[in-house]
């Protein structure tokens, strides 16, 4: 089975509220696909449709070319974390994984393996009612990994994690993707996915607003802006403008140069014999790129009160 998720033209209404309005995207293997958008954009609904929990009115959501509902022992094909609070509080963490393992006829050894992978060994024999949100997220990830599936779908896995946990989660997701898994991670905070996501699907009001590789997006958002610090401000402006750059003054010793790569700026300054103390290419953060991308999209400014589910 191919490790992909293909979502095509999903539509779903809850009464008068449109939850999904032609949602279409693909989750490819080997990288983390960030699934972002404001609350109510349809992220969770899409995930529930992929998992066969909710029924779409139209469209298809295929896991490795098949509907989830047709999968036998589905946790071996797709692991999901939708709601970390979906636990019986009186059940121990390990027992929660144990019943899931039984349902997929998985060996008990897998339970201890995923506990180790998620760093939950010490809490495994405690009742989940006493878990922090971060521990529940880890238990949810452990449950998703139980069947060692090639596809992972995680809804807001960073919620409730402490900074250390966020770093752990990023590294963990990168490592899982590097193994060739297809991973869809929803989030409403882009900064969480910095250095993790390889692909970005931005949604709003039930449909895809942007579907792009993260590298290209950041390059585009960064532009060719170079920050230059020099005491010979006027001369530098003359030289660089002469080479075709647009130069603006940022403050007394700092200029922002657009239209020339940093190497070319350095070469031109050297030719002209002008001193400088800093030349740095500006690199946009994922968050900045995301803001740029969604700046004009009305979906992100006036969200109508749509059903949250």
């Amino acid at each position: 089975m191919e490790a992909t998720v293909e979502v095509t033209g999903l539509r779903k209404r809850y009464g008068p509220a449109v939850a999904l309005d032609g949602m279409t995207f693909t989750v490819a293997p080997g990288l983390v696909t960030a699934f972002v958008g404001p609350n109510g954009a349809g992220k969770s609904t899409t995930m529930r449709v992929i998992l066969g929990l909710d029924r779409a009115d139209e469209g298809s959501a295929l896991v490795g070319g098949r509907w989830y509902r047709d999968l036998r022992q589905p946790l071996r094909h797709l692991g999901a974390l939708l709601d970390p609070a979906a636990l019986h509080p009186a059940r121990r963490g390990r027992d929660h994984l144990l019943w899931l393992a039984r349902s997929q006829a998985l060996p008990t050894g897998r339970v201890d393996e995923v506990l180790r992978l998620t760093g939950l060994e010490s809490a495994a024999r405690r009742r989940t009612g006493g878990y922090s949100l971060g521990m529940r997220q880890r238990l949810g990830i452990a449950a998703a990994l139980l069947g060692d599936p090639p596809v992972l779908i995680l809804d807001e896995p960073f919620n409730g994690l402490d900074p250390e946990g966020i770093v752990w989660m990023r590294g963990f997701l990168r490592a899982l993707a590097a193994e060739g898994r297809a991973i869809l991670v929803s989030s409403h905070l882009m900064s969480e996915l910095q250095d993790t996501a390889g692909h970005l699907v931005v949604v709003g009001r039930g449909r895809v607003v942007a579907d792009t590789g993260v590298a290209e997006l950041i390059a585009a958002a960064s532009g060719d802006r170079v920050t230059l610090r020099t005491v010979e401000r006027t001369e530098a402006m003359t030289v660089l403008a002469g080479a075709g750059a647009t130069v603006t003054v940022t403050d007394r010793e700092t200029l922002t140069v657009s239209g020339l790569p940093a190497g070319r700026v350095v070469a031109l300054l050297n030719e002209a014999g002008l001193p400088f103390s800093e030349v740095s290419a500006h690199r946009a953060t994922l968050e900045e790129a995301y803001m740029e991308l969604t700046r004009d999209a009305v979906e992100f400014r006036a969200p109508r009160p749509e059903a949250a589910r």
């Binding site: 293997p29 998992l51 066969g52 589905p74 636990l87 019986h88 193994e179």
Partner: protein
């Protein structure tokens, strides 16, 4: 960028998919919530607890002797060929019969009287010390014959109480009957016997087969029926008999049931007696068949009406007797299921467990994890029903199997009458109790799935299943309403616990208060199963159709 990616392949070894895996998963779910395990143990303990407390607090009320006599406890009633408790106290005038033979006789009258309390002991199950009794010593009231007063031809294995027999007879209100071995009853021509309308009767033995005939004139004969008494010895007793049940009135009141019983006597006259076949000798001897379980037949009271007797004068036989020959019927309180009164408590806990088993998943959102693990949702429900059904069945079986023998011993030690039950019936009562719990718990799972709310579902199932039963057996409801409820609600399933049999040939109020359900044991159980199947069907449909 995907060019260089090798899609991931799961390293977990493949295994068999299917319902057994889901059943194991649901079992793991159950046993890993300590509260549920504790509740299951409590449910198991409630049944013996109630049963033994009830038995311990119940001291023999049965068979108290006539006023002031020591209450030495009951005499166990004899058992018939089928193992059931019987009354066997007719007045029997007989001669030995070897091999085949025929008796023909004309019955010209059957009358009866009610003997006032004081001549005989009080009614079974009535309040100690008798009820609203007339003053002792008043002469017999002319109450007329009891509806089931009997007179006719009796052929009996021996004079031993409980021995096999067949009899063709007239009754006061139920026409001609052919009865055998206490439980068998076949109706013949209707009509009462009077001097103007006597009734001819004939009983023929041919090997194991006994055939009863009736005739209005001794010429035109109707076959009432033929019965087989396998193993009937060649040498038997045959002759005439008269028998009558006591006069009992029953009253249901809130929380209970009262019966006021007075012994009765019946007198019948016969003539035109003719015997054919292997009769030996010519002397008829009369005797009252031994003591009966039913008080009122106690010998040694010295009252000729109670003792019975016969008189022959110019070919006319006059027989008087006060005992019955019929199945021993009493309220279920004396039956083995009395020890299982705690079933309703165990059932209540089982229902709550069944509801919680699914409703908690809805409450916590865990149902999504469950159906994501098994997208074939019907199987999730099937696995849950299997697990909760198996758990409640096993705990019910253990509880009932422990409670019945212990409870029975305790009841007997306290001087209570416990009716004998044949092994198969007792097995049905014990296994049926377990099945009742299991099916009700599955019903609870189904209703919990439908409603998705624990409290509402538990209340609903308890109101449907436990409440009608409690209201009916505690006599909160009038008998008619109770019977109606126990026909249509899932509480009908409690019928599976009934070991006592309602015999139409014995006049008795066969009401829930007395331990008689309106439906036969398996029919009542089928009603519960029907409810459960319907609820499971609806639950499966909704579970599949609804977004999880």
């Amino acid at each position: 960028m995907t060019d260089t990616i090798t899609p991931y392949r799961s390293t977990v070894p493949a295994a068999r998919d299917g319902l057994p895996a889901l059943v194991r998963a649901e079992w793991t779910k159950f046993r890993t919530v300590r509260g549920w395990v504790v509740a299951a143990v409590v449910a198991l303990l409630l049944m013996p607890l109630f049963g033994l407390l009830g038995a311990a607090g119940s001291h023999g009320e049965v068979g108290g002797g006539p006023g002031g006599e020591s209450r030495a406890g009951h005499r166990a009633p004899p058992t018939g060929p089928g193992g059931e408790a019987v009354n066997d106290g007719p007045y029997f005038v007989h001669r030995p019969l070897a091999g085949d033979g025929t008796v023909t006789v004309r019955v010209t009258s059957l009358t009866g009287v009610v003997l006032p309390l004081g001549n005989g002991p009080g009614g079974l199950g009535g309040p100690a010390g008798g009820g609203p009794a007339g003053p002792a010593g008043v002469p017999p009231t002319e109450g007329g014959a009891q509806p089931w007063a009997k007179a006719g031809i009796l052929l009996k294995e021996s004079a031993e109480p409980g021995s096999a027999y067949a009899a063709v007879m007239v009754t006061a209100d139920h026409g001609v009957r052919l009865q055998h071995n206490f439980t068998g009853d076949t109706a013949g021509p209707p009509g009462a016997v009077t001097a103007d309308a006597p009734r001819w009767l004939r009983l023929t033995r041919a090997g194991d087969l006994l055939t009863g005939y009736a005739s209005p004139d001794g010429e035109a004969w109707t076959t009432v029926g033929t019965v087989r008494l396998p193993g009937l010895p060649s040498s038997v007793l045959a002759g005439l008999f008269v028998a009558t049940p006591g006069d009992e009135t029953f009253e249901q009141h809130l929380g209970g049931f009262e019966s006021i019983g007075e012994p009765a006597a019946a007198t019948a006259t016969f003539d035109e007696l003719d015997t054919q076949g292997g009769f030996a000798g010519s002397d008829w001897s009369g005797q009252r068949i031994g003591a009966t379980g039913r008080p009122g037949g106690a010998p040694g009271t010295g009252d000729p009406l109670v003792e019975g007797g016969f008189d022959v004068s110019r070919g006319t036989f006059t027989l008087t007797g006060s005992g019955d020959i019929a199945p021993f019927v009493t309220e279920g309180a004396a039956a083995v299921e009395r020890t299982l009164v705690g079933t309703f408590a165990t059932l209540t806990v089982a229902v709550v467990l069944g509801v919680l088993f699914i409703a908690t998943e809805y409450r916590r959102g865990l149902i999504r994890v469950s159906v994501a693990a098994s997208p074939r949702r019907g199987r999730v429900l099937a696995a849950k029903a299997t697990v909760i059904g198996a758990i409640t069945f096993v705990l019910g079986l253990v509880a009932a199997a422990v409670t019945v023998p212990l409870g029975r011993r305790l009841l007997r030690d306290n001087g209570n009458l416990v009716l004998p039950t044949d092994g198969l019936t007792e097995l049905r009562v014990v296994v049926g109790t377990a099945a009742l719990l299991a099916v009700a718990a599955v019903l609870a799972v189904a209703v919990g799935t439908i409603l998705r709310r624990g409290a509402g579902a538990a209340a609903g199932v308890i109101v449907l299943t436990v409440l009608p039963y409690v209201l009916a057996v505690a006599a909160v409801l009038p008998a008619g309403a109770a019977q109606w409820l126990l026909r249509i609600t899932p509480a009908a399933g409690f019928a599976i616990q009934q070991s006592v049999v309602a015999y139409p040939q014995v006049g008795h109020p066969y009401t829930p208060v007395a331990g008689y359900f309106p439906l036969a044991p398996w029919a009542g159980f089928a009603v519960l199963c029907g409810w459960t199947v319907l609820a499971l069907g609806l639950a499966t449909y909704l579970l599949r159709r609804r977004d999880a």
